[in-house]
Subunit: 340 residues, 2 copies
Amino acid sequence: MQQLRVTLRDVAAHAGVHPATASRALSEATRHQVNVETAARVVAAAHELGYEPDLTARTLRTGRTATAAVLIPDLTNPLFPPIVRGIEDTLAERDFTALIANTDNDGGRERRVLRAMRARNVDGFILLTAHRNDETLATLIRDQIPVVTVNRTASGSDVSSVSPDDNAGISAVVDHLVGLGHTRIATIAGPRTLSTGRSRYKAITAGLRKHGLGLPTGRVVFARAFSEDEGRRCMAELLDSTDATAVVAANDTLAVGCLDTLRDRGLRCPQDVSVTGFNDILFMDKLSTPLTTVRIPHTQMGVEAARILLDQMLGRTDATKHAVLPIQLVVRESTAAPKR
Amino acid sequence: MQQLRVTLRDVAAHAGVHPATASRALSEATRHQVNVETAARVVAAAHELGYEPDLTARTLRTGRTATAAVLIPDLTNPLFPPIVRGIEDTLAERDFTALIANTDNDGGRERRVLRAMRARNVDGFILLTAHRNDETLATLIRDQIPVVTVNRTASGSDVSSVSPDDNAGISAVVDHLVGLGHTRIATIAGPRTLSTGRSRYKAITAGLRKHGLGLPTGRVVFARAFSEDEGRRCMAELLDSTDATAVVAANDTLAVGCLDTLRDRGLRCPQDVSVTGFNDILFMDKLSTPLTTVRIPHTQMGVEAARILLDQMLGRTDATKHAVLPIQLVVRESTAAPKR
């Protein structure tokens, strides 16, 4: 289908100038080379005709596309959209557009998305998808493409990152549960292939140790994914193997699954078992048992990531930055003192 | 920052052929012009070097970018991500990439996004943002750019669309409430500037009339947006002006706001007032009062929209299609027989 596009030539004709003059008048960098009145006439003509500069041509000239790719592991997880909003808002301030793509936690799909984005010559990447051992990230680093990881980080590579303070978050959760009188605390840990899984698992071990408590084998189950299904499965496993009075889930989605299993087994939360989450995603305050969780600054994480990436894409710095953002414990009804 | 890209020239050198031969070998359309063994050698070399064709160059050649813009009014509303997933999956089957952008229900932002997408020469648009009187849509139609609207439709223009069966959905809700014994049924209608607001409002009027019931002035409040805040405000207004025993909210987000106001006023749902929603977004089954609502086929709506758009972008048809997808009433705990 033919696109009827207003060209630079149309604008020039309308303003009664040579196309080269119109081009100079329409670029802020070269406008001073043109007579002020002529420039004003060209700008007015462009506006009147609804002229949009063709970025494909601009790309060939500047080598920059003013786009950043944002790779998300699962857009249907409410954790990610507010982060994306922060990214988009901040990129837009510098006239960069976010090209968002889902990888669905699928390696093949992630490779396809990476290929598609690189073929479009995006100027940089924001990865919400990073694995601790991350192939995509390794490729981008090798090719010296600006990249920032958000929420999750990769190990063994020095790449800019923005994360919530996992350690402070889990530590606050443990302090809260111990303060309520819990001593038998179990955890549903996240996947060990993801930094969030690993760091929160390490944080709970450290947090319990601070209170002279341990985390014996029967009180830890590792989820294979941050999903409700895995939360249900892991909670069932914990109930079969331990007498814990509280369960620290590595994120809200797992915690929601926990609540399902408790209800299915005829157990009450928090009377029989206290449950905590992490992230404070949408509607956690409205569940049948409103969830005690750790609120992370979703939008601000996106804002910080976009700022760091813009600095790199615009060549203002090559320095690697690691932003660790403050969290807040939000106590709701899923935690209470243990029965005994 | 310099991007170290493997070029066609590198592939040709590696395979020991002329760049023009390499180019022919790498395109399915021209591969038959090259000796089979040579083509295989070039393809192997491209694979080995990690060659990615430069789409900026391809765009200049074919006039197609293999991208479709997807405009979303609010990515943080859980209604949209599963629709986007259906769109992405279907576009990917034809090697098209979805470029997703948020308009945040903001006219200025929508114009910026439209400009950015057009400057990137996207091949088509999927609008989840359509207003009944839609400026963006008018521009795209004028310029003969392939476009499909999803969920919402525009009036007065013949553009392909994919919608849930609003009429059947609201009709099922009304039948359910009347079946429980309700006769004083009120509604929180959606914004009149959006087709979903208007069509569901018309459907409830028709549905009540079928049962010999009316919808007097005091039993209708129009929300200014599909938001929890507006749900809270409208419910407060209804409680002040009517003795309705059931409230039909035009979507789930409004219904969630209703439930807040009922609780704040010390009223119970469903004992004092029954409440229904529309869409069945994430977690509606897990609310403190699990919501009776209308489930729409989110992912399938995205799939259908992408199929229609692909047909248009690939020039296989100019026909306008309107897909109205079936819905399902999901009865949960927010509805019960009225007290009297």
